[in-house]
């Protein structure tokens, strides 16, 4: 049963146990039918604009020796589309109208409409489960069943044991149809604290560590150990300052300061984003163009983000009527100072450090910023209720750009700042629903240009996740969408 927090650790473990039909290739291209890597599905063919047929690899077996069949795929999607079992998946699979079997080896997906990411939707969100073990079990019984403790998957590794709060032990699946993994025993240790994770690898108790987070001292500590190799990987994370378009006190009215596009653009132009990012992440992050993290394929071909222009920022503020009439360093208009609250969660050290730097840079253009640090649940509650001037948001994106509609279209479910431009909606709609003959990124980039022009947010950073792996391991590759997905191809030279 799907939990509310499909934590990354759980998903990455699932990727070792259960194989998907196919996975996006190294570029993480989600649009169209090409560029995907076959896994359980040996191949796929398009029958028409709303129908895809997958042929399963006849060598594919469950870890109990039973062949993987079309019935497993049909069963899995029936369960995945049940809102009582998987509410999150139901939303992600809303365009999959039916999944049917044609014999044991062929499965046919029909979609509600023609769009570019049908293959992605059919393969990315869930991996097939063994129907022969689960179809007699009531859905609500699965969470407490023996299958959860001893899952039978189709992936390269088998679960040996889970020691709660400590580690998960995996063993190579000797009959894995794509080749037995070269590393026979894998232990995934649990250490939520970043210092503890680094200590585990530096003390020799672990061979690899994921996501070494700032401060930069942490990365320097890793680099000081010459037996370790530092590997930066594109990440799905993006951080930005989100401007509320509505007055937080009277949400049927426009925001008294931020509804003016000149103020929003002035804030973006007043910030030296490259400097901010470098101060916190060193060379391990980039300034994005639009709400695009470094794993989204649409970043290719996007323009460079605008650089700081203090004079233009000051001019825009003056043009909007904001002048420093009393000489206190903060601009004002009709007796009201240009003061804004910046809400951020106390749990994010990165955002806390950046917020202090942003406050200082905005002071240079006469914008006063009051930092409101709050406990994470309270921050989320206020954010969702639209009770903020500027929200320091940090979100994680799926490889598909279609998720952008949730936050940046008028009716988007997570559009808490109430940004609304019908032209942006139209451009996003075109990008999602057309199957362009040329570069598929271009319709998306047109939408990004519009979002940048409207300045509903200042897009600050998309970091690289920094991994460290012992040098003795060969053929190491780390995938941005699922870090240890290619572990089966690593080898140990020792």
């Amino acid at each position: 049963m799907e939990g509310p927090a499909g934590t990354l650790g759980n998903l990455e473990l699932a990727d070792q146990l259960f194989l998907r039909l196919a996975s996006p290739g190294p570029t993480l291209q989600t649009s169209g039918d090409r560029g995907f890597v076959p896994l359980l599905a040996r191949s796929w063919t398009r029958r028409d604009s709303v129908t895809l047929a997958f042929d399963l690899d006849p060598r594919a077996r469950w870890q109990d020796g039973v062949p993987v069949t079309a019935r497993d795929v049909v069963f899995t999607f029936e369960r995945a589309k049940n809102p009582a079992i998987a509410p999150r998946l139901v939303g992600l699979l809303r365009n999959v109208s039916s999944v049917t079997a044609e014999g044991d080896r062929r499965v046919v997906f029909r979609f509600a409409r023609s769009y570019a990411e049908q293959l992605y939707d059919a393969t990315f969100h869930t991996a097939p489960l063994p129907a022969h073990l689960l179809d007699t079990m009531p859905p609500e019984a699965v969470a407490h069943s023996d299958f959860v403790a001893h899952p039978v998957g189709s992936g390269p590794y088998k679960l040996v044991r889970i020691v709660s709060g400590q580690f998960v032990e995996l063993a190579a699946n000797e009959s894995f149809f794509l080749g037995k993994p070269k590393i026979e025993r894998v232990i995934m240790r649990v250490a939520p604290d970043p210092d503890a994770r680094i200590n585990l690898v530096l003390s020799g108790q672990a061979d690899a560590v994921d996501n070494v987070i700032p401060p930069l001292d942490n990365i320097q500590r890793i680099q000081s150990d010459t037996s370790l190799r530092v590997i930066p990987v594109s990440s799905p994370t993006i951080g930005f300052l989100l401007f509320n378009q509505k007055d937080p006190r009277h949400q049927d009215q426009p925001h008294p300061i931020l509804s003016d596009i000149r103020v929003r653009r002035a804030i973006t132009l007043g910030l030296d984003r490259q400097l901010l990012v470098h101060a916190v992440f060193g060379s391990y992050a980039q300034v994005p163009y639009g709400p695009v993290s470094s794993i989204l394929w649409i970043r290719n071909g996007a323009p460079k983000p605008t650089r700081q222009n203090v004079e233009e920022a000051k001019r825009l503020l003056s043009a909007a009527g904001w002048q420093d009439t009393d000489g206190d360093g903060v601009r004002d208009r009709e007796g009201r100072p240009l003061m804004l609250n910046l809400s951020l969660p106390t749990t994010s050290a990165v955002r806390r450090k950046l917020a202090a730097l942003i406050q200082e840079q905005l002071r240079q253009i006469g914008v006063g910023l009051e930092l409101q640090q709050m406990e994470f649940p309270l921050w989320i509650e206020r954010r969702t209720a639209g009770k903020f001037d500027i929200d320091f948001a940090g979100t994680v994106q799926d490889p598909s750009p279609t998720g952008l509609t949730q936050a940046w279209s008028c009716s988007g479910g997570t559009n808490v700042a109430k940004y609304c431009n019908p032209r942006t909606d139209s451009l996003l709609d075109v990008a999602i629903n057309t199957r362009p003959k040329g570069d598929p990124a271009q319709p998306w980039i047109a939408a990004l240009r519009q979002i940048e022009a409207d300045a509903p947010a200042t897009f600050l950073y998309t970091p690289f996740y920094v991994y460290a792996v012992r040098r003795r391991f060969r053929n190491v590759s780390i995938m941005p969408a699922s870090s240890w997905l290619m572990l089966r191809e690593w080898s140990d030279s020792r």
């Binding site: 049963m1 799907e2 939990g3 509310p4 927090a5 499909g6 934590t7 990354l8 809102p83 009582a84 509410p87 999150r88 139901v90 939303g91 969470a143 407490h144 044991r161 020691v163 709660s164 709060g165 400590q166 580690f167 032990e169 232990i187 240790r189 649990v190 250490a191 939520p192 604290d193 210092d195 503890a196 994770r197 200590n199 585990l200 530096l202 003390s203 020799g204 108790q205 749990t347 406990e375 994470f376 649940p377 309270l378 989320i380 509650e381 969702t384 979100t395 994680v396 994106q397 799926d398 998720g403 949730q406 936050a407 479910g413 997570t414």
Partner: protein, 323 residues
């Protein structure tokens, strides 16, 4: 004595029930949404949120949720964790042994080494040993345990590689390893976190015991014991120490729950899989079922601590029973 014990036990149960009821409603009165963690990674749409709210009963009126909690509690069911999607009782049962091992070790070290050193200091009042131990105990008391933990992990675990820097057991140990090997391995992992917590708590106990013992040493019954020709060791430990135990027994009652909840930082630094880190994550994510389960344990320990303290007082001092 039996009637007194029964009355005191009933009082403890009543206190526990009131505490749990207050905790239930106060937690829900605090700002924050229990599904906030679910929105942390990928923001959820209102439809997805509504479905999850219904699954965890969060869409029910507060009174209905309370009745559901109490009826579950009576049956030994604390509900399902919102964060982990697993039964709370199973989560607590998995984490409790690690917490009891760490907390118990610290408690034993605290009330053996701490008491012994406190008595030594009092007996050697104003001598060089007393002054040194006072300085050391003040230094220990002033040291933040999370900082001490980081330093010990770096120095002993990483630089010297004498002990494991994190974790509770070596996962590479064979599944077939014998009990002795496993126990030795856990003991090695236990040393650094237990030392980190003990240094601070021993320092506090030493100070309490020293002060209590100093008050007793000059009382007339001590002079009587010496006048009877009893050996000094017997005078100190049998006559003096027994009467200097009362403040320390109170301290024991206070330490009991703190050792379960107060090791959050140390558990984090040493990746120790105890209840403290589970409770901290639950507070952060407003995971009500886990919070109530952890609160039940802590409230139970507070009540138990008070109960044991009263019983110890009664055993040591007949006047308490008579009163």
């Amino acid at each position: 004595m039996r009637g007194w014990l029964l009355g005191r036990a009933l009082q403890a149960v009543a206190v526990l029930a009131i505490a749990l009821t207050l905790l239930f409603f106060l937690m829900r009165a605090a700002p924050g949404d229990p599904l906030s963690r679910a929105s942390e990674v990928r923001p959820l749409t209102p439809i997805e949120l509504a479905a999850l709210r219904a699954r965890y009963g969060l869409d029910q009126p507060l009174g209905t949720q309370y009745v559901s909690f109490i009826s579950g509690l009576v049956k030994g069911d604390l509900g399902v964790s919102i964060e982990y999607a697993r039964p709370v009782t199973a989560l607590l049962a998995e984490r409790l042994p690690a917490t009891l091992l760490l907390g118990g070790s610290v408690l034993i070290l605290n009330f053996t080494v701490g008491l012994w050193l406190g008595v030594r200091q009092a007996v050697r009042r104003n001598q060089r040993e007393d002054r040194w131990l006072t300085a050391v105990s003040l230094l220990g008391y002033a040291t933040p345990s999370f900082w001490l933990g980081l330093v010990l992990a770096w120095l002993v675990g990483i630089k010297l590689r004498l002990l494991p820097a994190a974790g509770m057991e070596d996962p590479l140990l064979s599944i077939d390893a014998g009990f002795g090997v496993r126990a030795g391995d856990v003991l090695l992992h236990l040393i650094l976190p237990a030392l980190t917590l003990s240094i601070v708590s021993i320092a506090a106990t030493m100070r309490y015991q020293r002060t209590a013992m100093l008050e007793v040493l000059n009382l007339p019954f001590m002079m009587t014991a010496r006048a009877k020709g009893l050996p000094e060791r017997e005078v100190i430990w049998r006559h003096g120490w027994r009467n200097a135990l009362f403040p320390v027994i109170t301290l024991f009652g206070l330490w009991l729950p703190i050792l379960v909840t107060g090791s959050v930082f140390v558990e984090a630094v040493f990746a120790w899989p105890g209840l403290g880190s589970l409770a901290a994550t639950a507070v952060w994510g407003r995971d009500y079922p886990v919070l109530m389960g952890a609160s039940l344990l802590v409230a139970g320990l507070v009540v138990l601590g008070g109960f044991l303290t009263d019983v110890a007082y009664a055993l040591l001092d007949p006047r308490v029973r008579l009163a």
